[in-house]
Symmetry: C2
DNA sequence: TCAATTGTTTGACGCTCATCGAATCGTAGC
DNA sequence: GCTACGATTCGATGAGCGTCAAACAATTGA
């Protein structure tokens, strides 16, 4: 049974936190690559695809920021981390935001 | 003849700069108040309306950040600064973004 | 011309953040 | 159990940002 890393509830979404998370180019590159995919994906595969040129600790940090902002959900499967965009939750709270920010990149 | 303070062209809009500008609560409060208005307005009147509890230098700094991000246009009329949202330019470059960020506040 | 007013710039301070190397944690496989 | 490996955390460092007081600039009105 897969574990889920801590994440905020929809009600506690904070626009300042969300915009700060999306303001960083590296995190936005991760989000854009993730947003284009229909299905969840392995963290490291996505990071390699995004080709950020950052160290593992830094990438891990960025994933955490995205998750704690409520943008992503992370499942723990063995040594892997499977990540996905929280589309419905984001759409419910800030409709059109993800499309406006990530859609045109 | 009114002078216009320096601002970026639509082509040089940078999403990182725009999101960073909107990520600050004070600046977003200014933008939200400004976005709800159909017409341009005096900077200090808007700032008073937004009730930020910040010093004049800080407010002036925030206005500059918003302007240099391309979010606002500032006209110099005597000692006053008349500010407005660059709706069309923003819509052209990042459709739906302002509505998604400022519409629900 | 001069004083008052309004907005900006400068300089400084404290805080946060992005980043990395090294250490740590947890799982997989033997 | 033990080792290898993937991911996170810790600690440190450097850069950037928000903030304000003080100095500066520009306009108004007498």
């Amino acid at each position: 049974m897969p574990r889920t890393l801590p994440e905020p509830s929809v009600d506690s979404f904070d626009l300042t936190v969300i915009l700060s998370a999306l303001a960083d180019p590296g995190r936005r590159a991760l989000m854009t690559a993730l947003y284009q995919r229909p299905d969840p994906i392995d963290c490291s595969v996505l990071a390699e695809e995004a080709d950020l040129g950052l160290s593992n600790p830094t990438i891990s940090h960025h994933y955490r920021v995205l998750r704690e902002a409520g943008l992503t959900r992370t499942l723990v499967v063995g040594r892997q981390r499977i990540v996905r965009v929280r589309r419905d939750d984001m759409e419910k709270r800030f409709p059109g935001l993800l499309q406006a920010v990530l859609g045109g990149e």
